[in-house]
């Protein structure tokens, strides 16, 4: 797996594309977190800008609707002084006949430096990274059910801020792991950062095939799985799961897997509750918990900007003149 993901690194082993957590290493993840930490002061200043990416053009290429991810990427780019172009291409527009590759070539002709890509197909960001001109960096902002690495890193950032260390933690991810790109990236990041007990808690219909490949412990009972947990990450439940016969009803799901104050009592007293959003109140999480003192859901959103600034600046670093001796043509 590692070799295939070498595409993410340049010849000097520096981050060039950020497509998935797999194939990176612990030090690189720590670097991202540390860099993000240094940027948090920027976001708290009056003038919220640093000139790191001045003169660079970043394209937010969103083939799938998104508000939170797109806006935090946009803010992150602007705070790095880059020029930002937002392009929303819904499925209907590409259905006109222009292929993804055509779209890519057109944008390249406009001399962009970075693509931030969200796409409904797993592997779309890899595909774009493989076919983009050599001077372009690609950041995966979510591809199908495969990966959402910046979301995972902002979650790691949040966990580190709250808990400090990773290696002693028990972390549970609750809900639709099978269809979740966020969960896949979180699991890889947690393992890479040293968390030994990563649990997934879900009915069998929502557990990914061959969970052993992810190195996780599987629970089908929320109460059992929450025991001694330090961090619980709730996943959003998509309505499609009822149509696809994966679940009978939201009602039964909430009854069995919805996080309530009462169930949360089984976890460690200082448990932290996370959710990548947007939340379905009363489906996967009770409002009392979501808005309660142990929830860091809103902090997560804020951390998204600093983490995305870190990833963008690191990826652009790999082809700044001083870093590689002027690779850009």
């Amino acid at each position: 797996m590692k070799k295939k993901n070498r595409i993410q690194l340049d010849d000097n082993g520096k981050l060039k594309h950020f497509l998935t957590i797999e194939g990176l290493n612990r030090q690189m993840l720590v670097d991202i977190l540390d860099t993000a930490e240094s940027f948090t002061s920027v976001t708290e200043q009056n003038i919220k800008k640093v000139p790191l990416l001045r003169g660079k053009t970043i394209v937010n290429l969103f083939f799938e609707a998104s508000t939170r991810t797109r806006t935090t990427f946009e803010l992150a780019a602007k705070r790095l002084s880059a020029d930002v172009l937002n392009i929303n291409i819904q499925a209907s527009a590409t259905a006109k006949g222009e292929t993804l590759l055509d779209t890519l070539r057109n944008l390249e002709a406009m001399h962009c430096d970075m693509f931030v890509v969200r796409h409904a197909d797993s592997g779309a960001a890899h595909f774009i990274a493989q076919h983009a001109a050599p001077h372009i960096s690609v950041i995966n902002a979510g591809d199908g059910q495969h990966a959402h690495p910046t979301q995972a890193m902002l979650d790691m950032f949040t966990i580190r801020r709250v808990k400090g260390e990773f290696h002693k933690l028990n972390v549970a991810i609750v809900g639709d792991v099978r269809h979740s790109r966020v969960a896949r990236s979180q699991i890889h990041a947690l393992s890479m950062l040293g968390v030994e007990d990563v649990r997934i808690i879900a009915p069998k219909t929502l557990v990914p095939t061959e969970p052993d490949a992810f190195g996780v412990h599987v629970y089908h009972d929320l109460r059992e799985g929450l025991r001694d947990v330090d961090v619980v990450i709730m996943l959003r439940l998509q309505k499609e799961r009822m149509r696809g016969a994966s679940l009978p009803s939201e009602h039964e799901y909430f009854q069995l897997f919805g996080l309530t104050e009462e169930k949360l009592e089984l976890a460690r007293p200082d448990v932290t509750v996370m959710h990548p959003g947007p939340i379905n109140r009363g489906v996967e999480i009770d409002s009392v918990v979501a808005d309660g003192p142990r929830s860091v859901i809103l902090q997560q959103v804020g951390h998204g900007i600093a983490v995305r600034m870190a990833v963008m600046s690191m990826a652009m670093q790999s082809h700044l003149p001083e870093a590689t001796g002027g690779r850009r043509g």
């Binding site: 197909d121 797993s122 595909f127």
Partner: protein, 425 residues
């Protein structure tokens, strides 16, 4: 025109021949093996020293893309690729455009092949009209028009009553039903094997049960109807076990596997390699070994190419949005030869899997070097190495996961009805 092929190692499994001998051809037919008939003088002699002379290969499944998708390939272009691969008889599935559900389309394909082709083409007729799975075709008329069997191509007949009736009707006319065993409900929108790799890549999976459920329900209908069924492109160990059991029980069934399923597994998908997007999907190492064992045990009758040429764009998209299939005619023989080199099967068995066994499934006169047989012959050098590169491929489609692989065993010459249709430079 009289020809002799001299000093080659003749391997003709159907006649139990494996010896260095000469072979004699007159008027497009094989007239003698061993010593020349009295008074024979060759107009032309082919020296096959150090080479293997075997029947022209028979491929149970090749999409030629004509009619309907000539931008991907034509009968002319793809049969040329077949000739390079040593293949002289090709069976094409009915999912052309228009579909082979009327005699006219079946005849059109054969007429084009006769006029422009470098190999013989035998079509399968559609099992149901428009492959819609609801009304059966005029199978008698299709048979009269040259169809050697019937199939619903990649589209499952989800209504088991229709499938049962179609099998009964095919049996009435002595037609073999070719089944791609995949339950459409379980396959859903999957594009890879449902397993560890697909799960990590977040690609929707086709579970092994999609194959085993379809095999099991089809076998139940074979028991019921007595229809002869050939399962195309088995991909799982478990699916194969069911067929093995059914053969043991005496049911009239047979099966084939593709060459790529014998060499690739789900691991090859890593990095979202769209050249490995095939249907049925590449499964696990265990499955691959199971399929190889099936060939060694004789449960698998044939190795097919499942040739599916594509234009470059068809593979240039995120994995799930690409079209499945590989351009495989030119690699069928060297990939099968690897099984011999790997010690899975003998040279004779391998050749029989590529010649008279598939010919018997199609019920066509091919795949042997019997006296009086049409001189469809493949001469290859089993020791010669060559690299597969897209510039030298004769198929329109350059979509293959084996690009730049070193291949061992090269076709030196292919004869069709005694005429040279391919010669290596």
């Amino acid at each position: 025109m009289k020809r002799s092929i001299t000093n080659g190692r003749i391997i003709d499994p159907a006649n139990d021949i494996d010896a260095v001998q000469d072979l004699f051809i007159a008027d497009g037919e094989i007239i003698a093996v061993g010593s020349a008939p009295a008074g024979f003088t060759a107009d032309d002699t082919i020296d096959a020293s150090g080479q293997i002379v075997c029947p022209g290969l028979v491929d149970l499944r090749a999409h030629l893309r004509e009619p309907g998708q000539e931008h991907k390939g034509t009968i002319a272009s793809e049969t040329r690729a077949a000739a390079r691969g040593g293949i002289t008889t090709l069976c094409c599935p009915p999912d052309t455009d228009p579909i082979v559900d009327t005699p006219a389309v079946a005849e059109l394909i054969q007429r084009h092949a006769d006029a422009t082709g470098y190999a013989r083409v035998v079509p399968l007729g559609a099992l149901t009209q428009g492959l819609n799975g609801s009304a059966i075709t005029e199978m008698h008329a299709l048979k009269m028009a040259g169809c050697v069997g019937v199939s619903n191509a990649m589209r499952a007949v989800s209504n088991t009553l229709v499938l049962r009736r179609a099998m009964e009707y095919a049996a009435t006319h002595g037609l073999t039903v070719f089944i791609h065993a995949e339950d459409c409900g379980l396959a859903d929108n999957g594009c890879v094997h449902e397993g560890a790799v697909g799960s990590r890549l977040g690609l929707p999976g086709i579970p092994t049960a999609a194959e085993t459920v379809a095999v099991a329900s089809t076998l139940a209908l074979v028991e019921e109807t007595g229809a002869r069924v050939h399962f195309s492109m088995l991909s799982s160990k478990q699916g194969l076990q069911k067929i093995s059991r059914a053969k043991f029980d005496g049911l009239p069934v047979s099966c084939d596997v593709t060459a790529h399923h014998l060499h690739l597994t789900e691991i090859d998908l890593l990095g979202f390699n769209s050249q490995c997007h095939v249907r049925p999907p590449l499964r696990t190492q265990r499955d691959m070994e199971g399929l190889r064992k099936g060939i060694a045990d004789g449960v698998v009758a044939a190795i097919c190419s499942d040739h599916q040429p594509h234009e470059a764009d068809a593979k240039l998209a995120p994995f799930g949005a690409t079209e499945p299939g590989t351009s495989a005619l030119e690699t069928l023989l060297p990939l099968a030869l690897r099984l011999v080199d790997d010690g899975n099967i003998s040279m004779t068995r391998m050749i029989s899997n590529l010649t008279h066994q598939p010919a018997a499934i199609l019920g066509v006169e091919a795949g042997t070097l019997s006296i009086g047989q049409r001189a469809d012959i493949c001469i290859f050098d089993p020791e010669r190495y060559w690299a597969l590169d897209s510039h030298s491929m004769l198929s329109h489609g350059h979509n293959t996961p084996f690009l730049n692989w070193e291949m061992k065993g090269e076709v030196m010459r292919t004869l069709l009805g005694g005429k040279t249709v391919y010669e290596s430079e």
